[in-house]
Amino acid sequence: VSQRQRFNLHLPGLLKVLAEHLYSSKKVGIRELIQNAHDSCVRRKIEGNEAGYKPRIDISLDIPRRTITIRDNGNGLTADEITNYLATIGRGYTRELREKLALYSPAEAAELIGQFGLGFLSAFLLAGEVTLQTRSLQGGPALRWHSAGDEHYDLTEGERDEAGTTVQLKVKPAASFILNEQTLADTIRTYADFLPTPIHLNEEDEPLNLMVQPWEADDPPAAIQDYIARAFRGTRPLCVLPLHDARVSLGHDFLTVPLNGFLFVPPGSVASVREFGDLSVYIRRMFICERERDLLPPWARFVRGVIDTPLLQPTASREGIHQDENFELVRQAIEEQLGAGLRELARSDPATWKRVVRGHADVIIGWAVSDNEFFERVEDIVTFRTTRGPLSLTEYLELSNGTLYYVTRELGSLQEQLLAEGRDVPAIDASWFSVTPFLEKYAHRHPEVNLVQLDGEAAQLLRPVPESAYAALLDFYKQLGVRARVATFKPAEAPALMLYPQGAELAREAEASLEAGDLPGPLAGLVHEYVEQKFAGSGELRGALYLNAASTLVRRLIDRPPAAEVRAAVLTLLYQMARLFAGRMLSAGDAVEAFRDVTRSLEGLVKP
């Protein structure tokens, strides 16, 4: 049987869903009611044609009676309008008015905010009962509308002398937090700071909201700075990039993206790597959301900003925005203006650009590793922590004669730093994970630059020498089972150093674990593969002792050899001192053994 039938609506259920589940924050109720009040004022301005009309919204709080009252001197509502719009879910007068105005008066249309005809329901997020008193500019009696949030409402004669609407919320216990003047004021500011209608709280003379967007102020740069300081907790930005309407190519045509606002770079924090890359988003001056991250390109983690564009489409709750084609156009426009702004900053104000790059070095290093174009822009500016303080690579390379020496371990790299300083070059601290790939990329792009990882490749700082003259010393160590070599290195004051390959600690721990059998067999198999692959039979894990041919002590052992006993004691001391100084690959047992040997050798040297 073919039948065409209507859906049935279960109104109480629908009301509950819309009022309680559409929005994530109860405070949104305040936003929606302010916006209705504002739209009503705009409507009066458009339809009333009254000279000298001054729109105004008053909000008052009565804590003992648990009420919040929002009063406007807008157009008010007739009985028909209450039935057709206020009490009809999904139909809003504002949307219909905007659609009418869109063609012949787009500027007036743009002042209207309401879209979905759902906003009034949000009053029930905060209130158990809502009472509305209204008188329409079009005439007719004052009306009183009252609802307790179920499917019924009462419409009776009201008490109001002049045109406009008053909404009174009887705040329910679950929303008691809003019965606090500061919370209410913050909520009003958050949502309606840029709304052009003045909002007065508790009959204060001065409106609570700014009313003018900072980029529309008489002195936009100063107003933006003030706004950032106020809205972003005292931040003094390193630079501000104003945004403007943008022409975006669609391939076959161009489209103008209406865009207002600004981006800014906050000062970097020394201690934290937390970054932002987020925007506060307004649509037609009404706050929608903060910390929107997808509108900025992924690399812009050091940028924040505020934008207002009517092109974005809010979700029904207007707490977020749809990621549709318009979203993509706005994103593209912002990315282009940000890129152009930063390029211009780098060109025209290199000092500030340096502060931006250096203030956000950790994040910028990470970003540059994956973005070639940006890498080029920052490679010679960004600074790295070195043993001589922060240095750019250009500054560093001037000191190091074309080689980058870096250390990746967080701890225990004193020996490598000593070697570097012995060569009169600083060592770069590459313990931050993105520094090594950055340096590798730099070296790849500049073939004339050498890259030396000191922990693991420190032997590159040693200059080999013919070892035949040192055979006696090397033989001694050979008998002890110690791999020993002779080289020249700085500082000459260091007679011997112990060098281990990169990752030696991990491999040793893995070996020990395999020997002890404290890993489950099948997993041990995979760990064994790792050790085999990394250090296949090289015996390197034990490390190598390097005697310094530049040391007067080492030379004296060769040129004027002491008695065999003394030489043995000195060589033992050199070996154990080098092990202990290296601070690597020492178990507690190793350390005890080293100290025992040191003591025994010293006793041998001082015995009568």
Binding site: E328, G366, W432, L506, G521, L523, L526, V527
Partner: protein, 362 residues
């Protein structure tokens, strides 16, 4: 106690104590995880911050927690395997210590030890991987996420060894597991991954009806889960299926959507994406575009320790060059070199020979 129960308990304690630093330790993870597709580099930054904070607060379980997430980021979101064995072996050794006996991520860390070898060279280490998977299966608890993790790796392993029936059977087991799971969020999370795999399987078997079906289902699930990376992938699979059905306009629209979606992500496309995109171009008789797709893939995977992916990509490039009638010697030499990075290159070289002979079955 599963990991999230432990985290919740830790958070409650920190909140009760008014301990802002420990609360930050808890909150860094969701902040990092939310960036997995949009900006994996930043995810890594936050994991590193979490690890350092845990060290400074003397919270060894949290050090291991953030190390685990850094490993996850490298394997699954950055596809960077250069130092992955160092990290995952270090974490495996760390969690063998008695202090971590009850650490809720021990199983996950062991799973990632296996995953690291699956990423780098699954055939080369097949014996060890199989034994490790069998062992992990013997430890698998009845409840919780561990079953998904293990079966997903078995599914992956079977795929890498071209045991497609086994891989599909494992996918079906995963779907059954998800269907019965009372944790709907967890079930949805893993179901998205299973459908992504089923699309690959259907494509490999040229089962176009199933491909279209799985891609549509996958899209719906990915949207529900907010899985943006997978969403792009499902759209692309739909484009490929539409092109196969001759719905050219649909195909192009879907491909544009997929590409735009993927371009918005900071995570690089993976092998499945490039396979789908190259197949899409090839099906449209645009071999040059398919080759360009493989160029881009190669550019992304080179020097990231992706030995297995690199030789497979080069193999596909050789196949395309042969098909286009273009000189292939240089690419074949590069493919041999890439195969040489594998533990046992015989299989790879055999495949290459087949391709160079123009064997269409390869």
């Amino acid at each position: 106690m599963n990991v999230w129960e432990w985290v919740d308990e830790f958070e409650s304690r920190a909140r009760a104590d008014g301990d802002e630093q420990r609360l930050r330790l808890v909150h860094l993870h969701p902040e990092a995880y939310a960036l997995r597709h949009a900006n994996p580099d930043q995810m890594l930054v936050l994991c590193e911050e979490g690890r350092r904070l845990a060290v400074s607060l003397h919270e060894p379980w949290w050090v291991l927690f953030y190390e685990h997430w850094a490993i996850e980021t490298h394997i699954y979101y950055k596809d960077d395997y250069r130092h992955i064995l160092d990290r995952v072996v270090r974490a495996t050794l760390e969690c063998r210590k008695p202090a971590y006996d009850q650490h809720p991520l021990r199983f996950n860390i062991w799973c990632n030890l296996v995953a690291a070898y699956l990423c780098i060279d699954p055939r080369g280490y097949a014996g060890q991987v199989r034994r490790a998977l069998d062992y992990l299966e013997s430890l698998m608890p009845e409840e919780g996420e561990e079953k998904y993790l293990l079966l997903a790796r078995r599914q992956w392993f079977a795929w890498e060894l071209d045991r497609l029936d086994e891989s599909e059977a494992l996918s079906q087991r995963l779907l059954a597991l998800a269907d019965a799971d009372t944790d709907r969020h967890l079930a949805l999370h893993h179901t998205v991954g299973v459908y992504a795999h089923l699309c690959r399987l259907a494509h490999r078997r040229s089962d176009w009806d199933r491909l279209a079906e799985h891609a549509v289902t996958g899209e719906e699930l990915a949207r529900r889960r907010g899985a943006r990376f997978e969403l792009a992938l499902f759209l692309l699979w739909q484009a490929l299926a539409a092109r196969h059905e001759g719905r050219e306009e649909d195909a192009r629209r879907q491909q544009r959507l997929a590409t735009a979606q993927m371009a918005r992500l900071g995570k690089s496309p993976d092998d499945a994406w490039f396979d789908a995109l190259a197949a899409y171009h090839e099906l449209g008789d645009s071999l040059a575009a398919a080759l360009r797709t493989r160029d881009r893939q190669l550019e992304l995977i080179r020097d990231k320790g992706q030995f297995d992916s690199e030789w497979k990509c080069r193999l596909q490039r050789c196949r395309l060059l042969v098909k286009m009638g273009r000189p292939v010697d240089e690419e074949a030499a590069a493919a041999r070199e890439a195969a040489g990075q594998l533990r046992d290159s015989a299989f790879a070289l055999g495949q290459l020979d087949q391709v160079l002979r123009g064997d269409p079955g390869c």
